[in-house]
């Protein structure tokens, strides 16, 4: 069904493209938000990716590759947004308007803060790999295709990012144990 929509949208059918936005928009927004950790920046990145997709769609030869192609446009848009606002985004942090989807006691406040701080230290390339793998559940080969780097680089980035996040949680646990001895 999606390939048919892509073909119609490629021929300029706006309704077909709207259907594609409805099909893939939520997933794209969820990924962009988690990479950028900012509602407005994520909205901008998704809008930029979809408009670029609409403009360049006639050049997409294989409609079956639409998903990979769109995700690559999205990740590149996130890179651009991240770099554009990097200077002050470290000082200003928006909170999600929808609020947390999981109950607070599932991820403790301490863990959440530790992860937020550690994630903020990661480059946008490392963030992308973590989100695409751990949130979107994509295999490493697909992530390599989307991010335009070899699978080995994806693995390396994932390893590096995971270590930083894991260390952040571990050090936070040690700190808490010190502050609140049992």
């Amino acid at each position: 069904m999606q390939a048919g929509l892509v073909e119609r949208a490629r021929d300029g059918d706006e309704l077909a493209f709207a259907a594609l936005v409805d099909l893939a928009g939520g997933r794209c927004y969820a990924i962009a938000y988690r990479i950028l950790r900012d509602v407005e920046r994520a909205q901008d990145a998704v809008q930029q990716a979809f408009l670029l997709a609409w403009r360049e769609l006639p050049k997409l030869r294989d409609p079956e590759r639409f998903d990979v192609w769109l995700h690559r446009l999205l990740v590149n848009a996130c890179y651009e947004e991240f770099r554009r606002y990097r200077r002050w985004s470290t000082r200003v942090r928006s909170l999600p308007v929808d609020g947390p989807a999981a109950p607070d006691d599932f991820v403790s406040i301490d863990d959440r803060d530790a992860l937020e701080r550690a994630f903020a230290r990661l480059s946008v390339e490392h963030r992308s790999v973590v989100v695409l793998h751990h949130h979107a559940g994509m295999p490493l080969a697909s992530i390599a295709e989307i991010t335009g780097v070899p699978v080995g680089t994806v693995k390396s980035r994932l390893f590096h990012a995971t270590r930083i996040l894991r260390d952040a949680l571990a050090s936070d646990a040690v700190e808490n144990a010190r502050v609140r001895p049992a």
Partner: protein, 300 residues
């Protein structure tokens, strides 16, 4: 529940927090922009790109065009003036002023290149606990964005990315189960142990194992090739450390060398067309590892 499981669960739950639906305002903004956003059209014979050309490569292409145009103009002016003016004598003396027209990298002489590598004097403390030097850049681009390994690449002739790579990194060993990301690690005593280990991996083929040296440090070279992924081994996690090589069936054999340097194993992997492999071999032959006693002193 293991520490790994607990971490994965916590990270997954944290990532699951947050919005999942595209806001209406964004959807409307996209759809209302469609009528005023013209779709690209291309003729049947026009070359197409799967992805748009990055801004960096556009800038590189523009600079290359300007350099060629300036060079052509200079050549034309030179020929016009040759009828009345004696030909200039080429001398190796240096000019006090820089050349007006820089040569494109491909037009530069391929001999006597003394451009220091971007890594000269660099100490990648995480990867290799000693510095190494490379006397000539040779147009290679260094990717040191990852602290665990270094990657050297040569841009393709059309400027559209790379089809080659040289990876340099220190490796401690392998995995008890190289098909599992969470497997425990297995340190290796020497290069031979690495190649014995490779031979046990079901989706990896090793051939032509021969002795080699890099800057006088002894080790082994071979070609390695990965077959297609299987259900039992969907991906290979080859090293104790991560990255740099994986399972990509059908890419053909790639040369790999592992040498022992001051008690550490240094791995060099080459991948690319034959023309690049020759360049890679020259590059590897130029590597000089600093000795412990001279690590703090400048390069000889």
């Amino acid at each position: 529940m293991t520490a790994n499981d607990r971490f994965d669960t916590t990270l997954g739950a944290w990532l699951d927090e947050g919005p999942m639906d595209l806001p209406d305002v964004t959807r409307r903004a996209i759809l209302t922009s469609l009528p005023v956003t013209h779709q690209a059209r291309r003729g049947l014979l026009a070359p197409g790109r799967f992805f748009p050309m990055p801004t960096f490569y556009r800038a590189v292409a523009l600079v290359a065009i300007l350099v060629v145009a300036a060079g052509g103009a200079a050549l034309l002016i030179g020929r016009m003036g040759q009828s009345n003016v004696a030909a200039p004598v080429a001398t190796p003396t240096t000019s006090p002023t820089p050349a007006a027209t820089p040569l494109a990298p491909s037009a530069q002489p391929s001999v006597a290149v003394s451009t220091p590598s971007p890594l000269q004097g660099h100490t990648p403390t995480f990867v290799v606990p000693f510095s190494y030097r490379l006397p000539a850049g040779e147009g290679l681009v260094v990717d040191d964005s990852d602290p665990t390994w270094y990657q050297f690449r040569h841009p393709k002739a059309d400027g559209q990315g790379y089809d080659n790579t040289i990876v340099v990194r220190a490796v401690e060993g392998g995995r008890v189960d190289p098909c599992a990301e969470t497997s425990t690690t297995k340190p290796m005593a020497n290069p031979q142990a690495f190649f014995d280990y490779f031979a046990t991996i079901p989706t990896m083929r090793v051939g032509d194992v021969t002795p080699t040296t890099i800057d006088g440090n002894r080790g082994l070279s071979a070609t390695v090739e990965f077959t297609a992924a299987t259900a039992e081994c969907p991906d290979v996690w080859l090293w104790t450390e991560e990255g740099s090589i994986t399972q990509n069936g059908g890419r053909g054999p790639r040369p790999i060398s592992i040498v022992d340097v001051q008690g550490k194993h240094v791995m060099v992997l080459r991948n690319g067309p034959d023309s690049f492999l020759q360049k890679a071999d020259e590059f590897i032959a130029s590597i000089r590892f600093d000795r412990p006693s001279s690590s703090a002193s400048p390069a000889p």
